[in-house]
Amino acid sequence: QWDEPRVCSRRYLKVDFADIGWNEWIISPKSFDAYYCAGACEFPMPKIVRPSNHATIQSIVRAVGIVPGIPEPCCVPDKMNSLGVLFLDENRNVVLKVYPNMSVETCACR
């Protein structure tokens, strides 16, 4: 974690379905790389965090201190990927579903 960048960026997270108790009915995958977003969205924000115009304005307002209580923008997933999951339904039939927005590809300040 000490080597992780301080600015808003994607961090590695592997989710194992056994850890959250879903392995009883999920056939595949056993686990997947979900990743997560964390880091600062402080003014001035670098290009890599791809801030929206609103996030840029909000960070300036916070930095100037005009309005008290304004937080810095949040580091959140920007582009995400889907994940195919093979599982058993309530009647023990095999089902395949492709769920959207299951893993993070890029993060951004919003």
């Binding site: 999920i26 995958p29 195919g84 395949l96 579903k97 492709v98 769920y99």
Partner: protein, 336 residues
Amino acid sequence: SHNAPAWSAPPAAADDLRGDRDSQRPPGEAASTLGPGAQDMVAVHMHRLYEKYSRRGARPGGGNTVRSFRARLDVVDQKTVYFFNLTSMQDSEMILTATFHFYSEPPRWPRARELLCKPRTKNASCRLLPPGLPAHQHLLFRSLSQNTATQGLLRGAMTLASPLRGLWQTKDISPIVKGARRDGELLLSVQLDSGEKDLEAPRPSSHAPYVLVYANDLAISEPNSVAVTLQRYDPFPAGDPEPRAAPNSSVDPRVRRAAQASGPLQDNELPGLDERPARLPHTQHYHKHELWPSPFRALKPRPGRRDRRKKGQDLFMASSQVLDFDEKTMQKARRK
């Protein structure tokens, strides 16, 4: 139609395809329920679809869902009938395509021998062959709602050619399944009619027919869709004591408060506990209204911490530090 060897995949090959990451953990319970060695065709077929559509951007049949339905064998009027329970389909799933997969066995030995017998043979067994064996098998599709005693509404009929060797055949039954669903009859029956009087010999599970339904789940892009279908138990088991909750606490999360001072007050010290209306913690209030409706048990909301807005204010002590006098004494003190 497709040849049987194209669909069969030894378990070892399937395991290799899963990659090293999945092999780090022992197979879960779900994998073991696919069948002995995962050799039944439903499991093999679905796994191949999973591997195919796990690639980014790939969509199974233009949708996002494939459901498989195994057959339940029954005998009705001395006829072999396969039943498929399609009730697990969600209302949000729009059917795109439905296919029926059936393993056609080669003709029984009299027909096989007929093919092997040459004309004008002197072999006695060849001369005893019965004529006119059926070269096709007929499938009758019916649908009915559950808990009905009728045979069901005839939805369609198909013919399967009898192959020379074992062969998996696929038939498009989209109109049949769509019509059955439209009418609310989600129990599909398939009667095999080969023209033979005797019942069909029981098939091994690996040769049992099955139905695949390709659908587009319109609700899959909704927030929390993954939990609606995959979260089935409360991750916080029942019986675990909630933190900071008294054993006899009521359902109402607000803390009861009561003024302890009975007489008039002459100073700015509050007599007893804080008399301001108890404010619901922000997070608790959020959980009360924002949980998604689900047929399964949802996450237990955890009580939020008390929100203290005024900084620097001393925590009010539960017991008052002010002396309490009767009204007569207070009146005398005021006069003085």
